[in-house]
């Protein structure tokens, strides 16, 4: 059985005060769960459903709709490369291809040491500084292959 830490429970209680019903707090609760457990597994979904008094099926529906919930484990550094128009025009595809070669993994995969995972995402709303990617919560902009190499080297 999984359970939120006392600290996360406090955060949840606070969060619930912002919403008219417990059900309405599903998305922020899933975020808290992802922060706490790293992955939104089926077990996590059932736990969240119990917390908010909604059906596991409903939680599953929401968790699978939004792509930023990790249903499978991701690496310590989760690389999300933009593949929408502006970034594509500015060489986003090349960045993605380079990352695949460099890390030896495909989209949706994790390196064997668990350090990196890679995926392509839709618009990061950073068109002015294309091509862009996110690593975990942080933005990296105006990328080129050399810059990407440097960024990877700096990640421990």
């Amino acid at each position: 059985m999984i359970e939120f830490s006392t600290q996360t429970k406090k955060k949840l209680e606070e969060c619930l005060t912002h919403y008219p019903t417990r059900q309405a707090a599903l998305l922020p609760t899933l975020w808290l769960a992802q922060e706490e457990f790293g992955t939104v597994t089926l077990e996590v979904m059932e736990y969240v459903a119990g917390l908010l008094d909604i059906s596991p099926a409903h939680v599953y529906s929401v968790a699978t709709f939004y792509t930023m919930f990790h249903l499978k484990p991701v690496g310590k550094y989760h690389l999300q490369v933009c593949r929408t128009l502006s970034c594509a025009l500015m060489g986003g595809e090349r960045i993605l291809d380079h990352l695949k070669k460099r890390l030896g993994i495909e989209e949706g995969e994790v390196t064997p040491n668990g350090k990196f995972s890679l995926c392509a995402v839709e618009c990061l709303a950073s068109c002015g500084t294309a091509p862009a990617m996110m690593i975990n919560e942080k933005y990296y902009e105006n990328l080129d292959v050399q810059k990407v190499e440097k960024i990877l080297d700096e990640l421990k």
Binding site: L42, M45, E46, I54, S55, P56, A57, H58, Y60, S61, T64, F65
Partner: protein, 481 residues
């Protein structure tokens, strides 16, 4: 409620405020095609098939959710509307597997119907279709083919709104969207069969019915479910004296558009384990007999006893008419005042506040109204004539009181078939006309779907012949004197 006046396709329409355009159009006989809209469910407005145009409206409206407004001028069949429907069809069919030859929905599929009505153009999509899982057993007798699904969410809403459980959901999104249960969990509500009925395409099919029969071969007869005292209105679908499936039939006062799975799959007793010929049991030997031989034998058995001491035992699952006939026979031919009844009494009957009642007999009110008494009240008799069946307890009671079962009017095989001296086959509810009175006191009609099977005859017919035999014997006696 205030009335709203509007015009649909040039026809003046007057409906209550809050009515949707689709419903308003139906009142003047204009059918607007739709997938996600179902009159018994909450509105979803997701399929876009019901788009119509209205004057002064900048964009087409989804008629299933758009409420009527005073003075509205709506057009449901302009070139633009027809081209919109064609576009919706084209999108819906992009990833559709087009496996109609092996799809059980063929013949009652809205994708087929609307394609012929509104689309009729070859696909322009030459790329690889999205592939998803097929033949998924969702549980509760429901099979899912994800590739055929158009994500209308009717099945989700049926589970939520009829059964009151949130078991189905859509997972993922865009062209990867699929209907599913929570992984590892099964569909398990007692109304799950309704998801198959409401599915407008071949995504959800019935495990029980699939591949048994093409739907266009089936005949339909309106009837009433005999599974419990609710008396849900149903359509019996059958061919060549065999029932293939039961579907709920709209009755807003009884069952709305729905029925429970227990009733839906409870037609085995019509197809199987039937008693189809009369039998004469003598000293432990059971022999089949023609109906005349059986009747003559029964008449002579009856004559050996005191007729007025014979008790008749009706059944709470028989029609009012059959029970009345039995009662009249007892009163007039036997001069007996003993009318009892038996009833199906399963040990732990499931019931809920939705449709299913704990009383698994279709006509308890009927036996009550006619003044039949429970068989447990029986104190003595020289013999009994039994209709339909007896419970184990009731058989023990007869043994204890040493009352022989002279005749058993049987639908299905039962221990009584060897215990009774004469067994006479009678038709099931699917082969006779009559009425059941449901738990609300509504008298509802059943209609024969086909002729009585085998050599079974209506109880009335058996009793009339028996009456004639008894009377003629009586006359002979008189003459002999």
């Amino acid at each position: 409620m205030p009335k709203i006046k509007l015009t649909i396709d040039g026809k003046p329409v007057e409906v209550e405020a809050g009515t949707t355009l689709l419903q308003a159009a139906e009142t003047v006989g204009i059918q607007i095609p739709h997938y996600c809209y179902h009159p018994g469910l909450k509105l979803a407005g997701n399929c876009r098939m019901c788009l119509v145009e209205a004057e002064k409206m900048p964009k087409p409206l989804a008629s299933c959710v758009a409420p009527v407004q005073e003075g509205m001028v709506v057009k449901t069949n302009t070139d633009n509307v027809i081209s919109l429907r064609r576009s919706v069809m084209e999108f819906l069919l992009i990833n559709h597997p087009l496996d109609c030859p092996t799809c059980d929905q063929a013949g009652e599929c809205r994708l087929q119907d609307y394609y012929m009505q509104y689309d009729k153009i070859p696909s322009r999509f030459h790329e690889e279709k999205v592939h998803k899982d097929k033949m998924i057993d969702l549980g509760a007798g429901v099979m899912l083919d994800q590739e055929r699904c158009i994500a209308c969410t009717r099945c989700i809403r049926v589970c939520q709104e009829v059964a009151g459980v949130d078991e189905l959901c859509l997972s993922n999104r865009g062209d990867h969207v699929t209907i599913t249960t929570f992984p590892g969990k099964e569909l398990s509500n007692p109304y799950a069969g309704n998801t198959v009925d409401v599915c407008p395409v071949g995504a959800l099919t019935s495990k029980e019915f699939r591949f048994k029969k093409r739907v266009w071969f089936l005949e339909s007869t309106s009837s009433v479910c005999p599974g419990c005292s609710r008396g849900c209105n149903i359509t019996v679908q059958h061919q060549e004296s065999k029932v293939y499936r039961l579907l709920p039939r709209l009755n807003s006062e009884v069952n709305s558009y729905w029925m429970c799975d227990e009733g839906r799959y409870g037609f085995d007793s019509v197809n199987d384990h039937r008693v189809l010929r009369a039998r004469i049991n003598e000293e432990g030997v059971s022999e089949e007999a023609g109906h005349e031989d059986a009747l003559v034998e029964l008449a002579s058995l009856l004559r050996e006893t005191s007729l007025s001491e014979i008790a008749v035992v009706g059944h709470a699952s028989e029609t009012c008419e059959t029970l009345e006939n039995l009662q009249q026979f007892a009163k007039n031919s036997l001069k007996s005042r003993y009318f009892f009844y038996s009833r199906f009494d399963p040990p732990h009957p499931y019931s809920d506040n939705i449709l299913m009642t704990a009383d698994k007999n279709a006509n308890q009110k009927g036996v009550d109204q006619l003044g039949f008494k429970p068989l447990s009240d029986l104190k003595s008799a020289v013999g009994v004539l039994v209709l339909r069946d007896l419970t184990g307890q009731e058989m023990e009671l007869l043994d204890r009181l040493q009352i022989p079962v002279l005749a058993f009017f049987a639908v299905n095989e039962s221990p009584l078939c060897t215990k009774a001296k004469i067994v006479l086959p009678i038709p099931s509810y699917a082969e006779q006309e009559g009425h059941f009175i449901n738990v609300q006191g509504k008298k509802q009609k059943i209609v024969p779907a086909f002729e009585p099977r085998g050599e079974s005859r209506l109880v009335t017919e058996w009793l009339n012949d028996l009456k004639d035999l008894l009377e003629s014997a009586g006359q002979k006696k008189k003459i002999a004197c």
